[in-house]
Symmetry: D2
Subunit: 130 residues, 4 copies
């Protein structure tokens, strides 16, 4: 990914695997979400708060290109691809230890208040995310 907004190093845990011997596919989202949250924190943007709401996903699109194993050192690369009125699109790539794109995709998150109702991204948030 050219010019990622955030790079998050992680390791595939034994708990991330399944009986196939490889990583169980949904467990990668733990690492991608951890990267997303670290990026938001770094920019001073709310991750989640019971009183203030958060950013639930409305779409997730993922390509699984290379299998991963327990112990594999990965790098999650993130880019904020689009900021809408109340939504944002993250693009992500998971890079394996030999520099290949093992997994790539995007997710669309919507800013909601504490009740789950969509709300506009504030000017402060927009500035921090741009």
């Amino acid at each position: 990914m050219e010019n990622p907004d955030y790079i998050y190093p992680a390791t595939i845990a034994f708990a991330d695997t399944d009986a196939s011997g490889w990583m169980h596919f949904p467990t990668i989202f733990r690492h991608i979400e951890a990267a997303e949250h670290a990026c938001l924190k770094q920019r001073g943007v709310l991750v989640f708060d019971r009183a203030e709401g958060g950013w639930p996903r409305v779409n997730l699109n993922t390509d699984f290109r290379k299998p991963l194993l327990a112990g594999d050192v990965i790098e999650v690369q993130l880019r904020i691809a689009k900021l809408g009125a109340s939504s944002m699109i993250w693009e992500f790539e998971v890079i394996n230890a030999v520099g290949e794109v093992a997994i790539s995709g995007s997710m669309t998150n919507v800013r909601v208040d504490a009740t789950g109702k969509t709300q506009a991204i504030s000017e402060q948030e927009r500035k921090a995310l741009s």
Copy 2:
């Protein structure tokens, strides 16, 4: 979904939630995969075997439309949308207790042998899946 190939009832567990109070988004794939495996078993098609291989995902595309809570009774509806030479596309809908489509999407799986190498879907498998 019209004419689903399989209907799998399930319940969102407390273990499926996160601190937002709602279902943690990747945990739905546990239920979708359980539905997929039940459908394969019913048709006598291999789910996974160390000697025979399996069906890893190469693409996953999901829309999250309605939030789910612990205790929610759901129904996973599946349809085999396409059978390729070595891949298949599943479409899925997760129906909530009041009959709404809470989550929908598709996943593309590829038939691989025990070493992870792509192989053709056999005639027997094709017949069972059609």
Copy 3:
């Protein structure tokens, strides 16, 4: 287990396994907790509520006696072994498809209010749990 207070049938999912090929040990607690919650609901006792609190665990003691595989049909048997002033002890057994005790143990839960502070089990709760 003689005279269980609740019997909960479940199936080990592929998502419950790890690269060893067998069930990943902590995933059994999902099924044990689901059994516990079903038992509480049946008796009309609070499971968890942001305003009312819940029953966090303070001790967990588990023996793993037989391995489990994806697809294994199990039965979680529960017994309320002790009711204290603000705590309760659950005993559990996980029975495999051939009737053996695959996993057994106990967990001690404490009744807390919404802020996490220990509170006395109410007379109504005590009656429902006895």
Copy 4:
């Protein structure tokens, strides 16, 4: 813990929480297992291998003393408390960001071969673990 054999830093992920707002209790075992595996690797001892076997748990005993939240920085401290003929006992403490013991306990693991049969801990393993 005095004289731990291994110290493993980690962070509680949002994926580790449940609707109570706090960490979902079984998710701590992911971090404890990651610490255990890192300790084994450092000493050159097998973690798991399909041909060589591994170290499944036969007992787990855990006290949950302080709640943990998403984002909490923790330290898993491990000590090898006992080496038997074919089993070993790990003691663990999870230290929270203010230095308190949030969680403590022990687990007993048994050395098995690829078929799951108990085997003696080798002299090489014993030396590496002592």
